[in-house]
Assembly symmetry: C2
Homo-oligomer: 208 residues x 2
């Protein structure tokens, strides 16, 4: 039975909220309280979680740490994912240096580029920019799982093909394209978020 995509997209939101509650020392939380924090309906939260099993107790709610552990396993975050970044431009470098990744068990193990002036330079201690030509060897040797694609749109599909051949199992794509891939792809289009925001701002105004 396939879990609907909107449900899967909300699981990381629950994860993040439970993590915060845990850090605040909260032991139990009701679906109502979670709903208020996340601007969702409590019935939605209960229905979403029911796709993955039986969680929480009537009248008590969810045990924060236990539900967090369950979602950690559902999302496969109890093991570390090795991530490579392709493209050492502004976005690629920012992602590679983004500390939240490792805190969430995504470890950036290498950054690749084709620019000879960038290859060999160190982004962080122990994190060098490598030559794209060594991609296949590297993935075979180090066993990277996921790739973050931060290359121009014009080369994104060719790089995605290389990544699949190299054995990468999933791609997070920052390039403004739709890829043809046999492996899972998630897209982050920052301008699309701004466009949705612009629309919301305009329609808010019209609604006044």
């Amino acid at each position: 039975m396939k879990v609907p995509r909107p449900v899967i997209k909300r699981m990381p939101v629950y994860y993040r909220c439970l993590e915060r509650l845990k850090n605040e020392g909260v032991k139990y939380v009701s679906s109502q309280k979670l709903a208020r924090r996340l601007h969702l309906k409590d019935s939605q939260i209960r229905k979403d979680l029911s796709h993955f099993g039986k969680f929480g107790k009537r009248g008590v709610g969810y045990e924060v740490e236990s539900l967090l552990n369950d979602i950690t396993k559902i999302l496969g975050l109890h093991k570390q994912w090795k991530v490579i970044v392709i493209g050492a431009g502004n976005i690629g470098k920012a992602i590679a240096r983004f500390r939240a990744l490792e805190k969430n068990n995504f470890k950036v193990v290498a950054v690749f580029d084709t620019d000879k002036r960038k290859i060999g330079t160190e982004l962080l201690p122990g994190l060098k920019i490598l030559d794209m030509a060594s991609l296949r060897d590297f993935v075979g040797r180090e066993g990277a799982d996921l790739a973050i694609l931060a290359v121009p749109a014009s080369s994104a599909q060719a790089v995605a093909n290389d990544l699949q051949k190299a054995g990468i199992r999933g791609i997070l794509c920052f390039a403004p394209v739709t890829l043809n891939c046999a492996i899972p792809v998630e897209y982050v289009d920052i301008t699309a978020f701004l466009k949705t925001l612009a629309y919301s701002v305009l329609t808010e105004k019209y609604n006044v």
Copy 2:
């Protein structure tokens, strides 16, 4: 009549695809062809667009440039949006330097930070890092519309409050929080995308 959020989220995807088709010199496109490019159903595309009016002709399809212009207006992209970036860390700097923003009519007019060592330095020609203390004056004077929030989670809500008081009309939030705001907010949580991707990779494997 409020347009459902998933429809609004797909409009920038149509926009991007039509823009590419236009650049390729394509004059007309059917919903079937759009659907194949975008891995969607053609009925979905027709239904989505029907929220905004009557587009396309039976047997001919959509005129690419005309539909692109219509979506441009729907999303409010025919005028330029002035954008400020809050937080000159890795993500904030990468976003401020991201050329795709201006191409899409989002112009980054200033970057703000509280770090005295960063204030006054130039990120791009004509784009200096300004003191957060001058936010309200700047927004009042320059009339910025949208803010990109790239500060740590711990200060995100306080900054969001300042942004609202200063007259900002919408926030794109990169901090891993849920904000309480009276203005529209869109969230970009890069680790959430990776978590969804990890889940897809794991379940793909199980499905084999």
